[in-house]
Symmetry: C3
Subunit: 342 residues, 3 copies
């Protein structure tokens, strides 16, 4: 299914092997030796493909899918069409992800410094690292083993990049330390001055920004996202957190481990976010807040107060999500014609 | 009026010729042979310039304008000052646009591969295409006739660019097919991985993103906008749709034909948008929605449900625009001092 | 405190000297000859460091800080721990900024055209200017004294850059005039076409954008921000205004002097903003508005009407901030259980 201009599948694999990759259970009537050649969407799959059902919005596509095999939660197995081989998993999307990664592993063959790249004499690029055409690596920078600096990307003086990390095209990094297995997508700007001024009617006074950005292992930073370096403390993105496109992270912000920060979120300076926090798209957080572990912030929420661990907030200004639903309903009732049952 | 450092007008043209370009009607008392040398704003125009009135906010500037000629709707012709020659059109802004394009046609003289560009041996650039300094074109990519790859832009492996298309400076494209007469503005990032993870407390699992971005003919993509490639299906921007700066478009999103997506809008994954839809600035749409043909979404709206064809919604969460106006008014009344008539 | 990979302090300085830099008053019991070696945060400072207290959120850190010296407002001096030398200032953050700039002045040693840069024959770069690797400077462009064009940045044809100005990595400028002491951060896109179309069901007609972007002295433009050039008039950013990351500024917008425009704000076309206006994060302004001098717009506000000078507005749609607080409270009361005193 994937366009061969861009993707080349590995495989084929038999169902038993795929079940092993996915930590899934083969349904009783499935043939463990059946061969699968590719992954596909429910409506695009054929008899040699494997697909998945995770979101019940797509149950009709599942019921009519021509996929030879499918990953599904046990409770929805009965919805499957005749003849489809099932891999059962309580986490079907994760199971699919593991299967898809077997068919399409990340591969990289180039190493060294491409023609047209500029690497400073005092920078160090690991022998099996790669600096692509047009990329510029500054004085004293370090690029770790198997890491890639993409086309026209910029690695500033002294920046440290760990191992197995990928820096996207046209991304710009300065004043930062980046861990292992990090992905920075194209156009991200990391490590520039934060928005620090002492306001003054005679002319705002710029405050030197003396901290860094620290990006821990397994983080992903979206395209055209911006992360300012700390003003003195560091700005920190914790291990395994995933930052989406066009997100703004202000100076001194600390994000914990395993968080999701969805597209176009803005986090103002010095706010601290715990572990496994989820910030939905376009949410905004003012500065100097504490957001507890496991908290969830709704899309477009405007957070102006601390959020306790485990809480879910929504609305602008943000309130507990139950209150937000009630407010929304109450507001709708205010304008309902009198006597209306709608 | 336009700064000659940056712009050189064609012409002059006589009024009859301009009326022809604009499909406008010359007013009875206008001299078809009168010469016009340039376009200008109402308040900056002189006797050799042509201007236009489209927004009644500017009626006073129209009434006092020194423009020698002006495009205006017939119903507002009576507001014109003495001595101004009028071109009458029911679509005065479009008429002005056509006249301005006659004075300032898009021109491009350079062809070939500039010094400092890097084009892979297996890429194909049309003989009359142009790859600017610092641009990098990857293996197997194709650049069509009269198309331009801007300074420091990046065209990834296998990407196909149609004819008469312009890719802006520092834009980055991968995994995509781009049509004819497309404009991609500077800094746009197109085709990177979507935000696809199977959440897992042990470490979120990245899901391979195996689709493409398909950009149809006559599309415009704004500066620093981001468009993720599909996860399996493609992300599609339909013919003639105009996407503004800093817009985020998630994986698998499908946008129909002739849409306007204004700055800083965010569209989450798998949402499908019909033809001639208008999304105003900073609106956000959650994933897996269907927005019908001709629908209109207000600025900063938060759309969490399907929107029927032709409907207009506003607010966060978004409701029909009439309800939103009523809710806004009801909320204001709640806090009005008792007995107040304000 | 600052990582020596990235920062090297000047100094040391004695307290009397620092008080002079900061226009602060030395407390009676402070030794003017005491030596200070660096700036530091309250909780990271030691006996050789100077810190500051500006936000009372951090009063406990102040009271327990090990900083040898600290800048503080006179009214909070009594909160200081034993043995801390105090510099008293009614503007402690500004005073700290001036001290930090003494320890960490902006320095730049390189001049000329770096290897790998491309400067057009007809461009002019001041002898003590610097064009970094991978940067491209177009025909007829002018780069003023002591100004820097960053790595992989793009300066379009005819662009004029003043003196002591810094253009960040991967930034792209066209059709603009930039003043003195301006900072453009990485990835900003300035001067591209505005979003100007005459809507037409047969295919929207692109309107030539014939104005420029004018950036006055002492302006700062954030990372990945976008500023469209005027459609005929210019887009103007007034002297000393500070624009944060990911801000969108539409065509013909005029921003006055000394404004703060915080991250992810969007300003639609032709809106005029006075002097010393503050727009908080993610606020959105529709087009053709007038925002008076000294006005303040709250975070996420949606401004659809003119705002008088000195007014503060909040909410979407934006209303006077007092009304917004009342509406927020009234809405919360609507859903409070009856008889509740919460």
């Amino acid at each position: 299914m994937a366009d061969p201009r861009f993707f080349t599948p590995q495989g084929p694999f038999d169902l038993a092997t795929l079940a092993g990759f996915a930590a899934a259970t083969l349904a009783d009537d499935a043939d463990p030796d059946k061969t699968v050649k590719d992954v596909a969407t429910l409506d695009g799959a054929g008899p040699d493909d494997i697909s998945f059902l995770d979101n019940l919005l797509y149950r009709d596509q599942f019921a009519s899918s021509g996929a030879g095999a499918c990953v599904v939660a046990p409770k929805f197995a009965a919805l499957a069409p005749e003849g489809m081989s099932l891999l059962l998993s309580e986490a079907p999307y994760k199971a699919y992800a593991l299967i898809a990664r077997a068919f399409y592993p990340e591969t990289r063959s180039e190493t060294g410094i491409a023609a047209g790249a500029v690497v400073h004499d005092t920078a160090h690029v690991a022998a099996d690292g790669f600096v692509a055409a047009g990329a510029v690596v500054g004085a004293g920078a370090e690029i770790g083993a198997r890491s890639v600096v993409g086309v026209n990307a910029v690695i500033g003086e002294g920046v440290i990049i760990g191992e197995d990390t990928q820096i996207g095209a046209c991304a710009s990094l300065s004043h930062c330390r980046v861990g292992h297995r990090v992905i920075v997508h194209p156009g991200a700007s990391i490590g520039q001055d934060g928005f620090g001024f002492a306001p003054d009617p005679e002319g705002h006074v710029k405050v030197p920004q003396l901290g860094r950005v620290v990006i821990e292992d397994d983080v992903e930073i979206g395209a055209n996202a911006t992360i300012d370096r700390g003003s003195g403390p560091d700005t920190v993105i914790g291990r395994g957190s995933k930052i989406d496109n066009l997100v703004q992270i202000g100076h001194n912000v600390q994000i914990g481990k395993g968080c999701f920060v969805v597209a176009q979120v803005g986090i103002s300076g010095s706010t601290r976010i715990g572990d496994h926090v989820s910030l939905a798209g376009q949410a905004g957080l003012i500065g100097h807040l504490k957001i507890g572990d496991g908290a969830r912030v709704g899309a477009q929420a405007g957070v102006a107060r601390d959020v306790p661990a485990g809480a879910t907030v929504a609305g602008s200004p943000a309130v507990p999500v139950i209150q937000w639903h009630r407010q929304t309903a109450a507001l709708a009732r205010l304008v309902k014609p009198k006597g209306s049952n709608r």
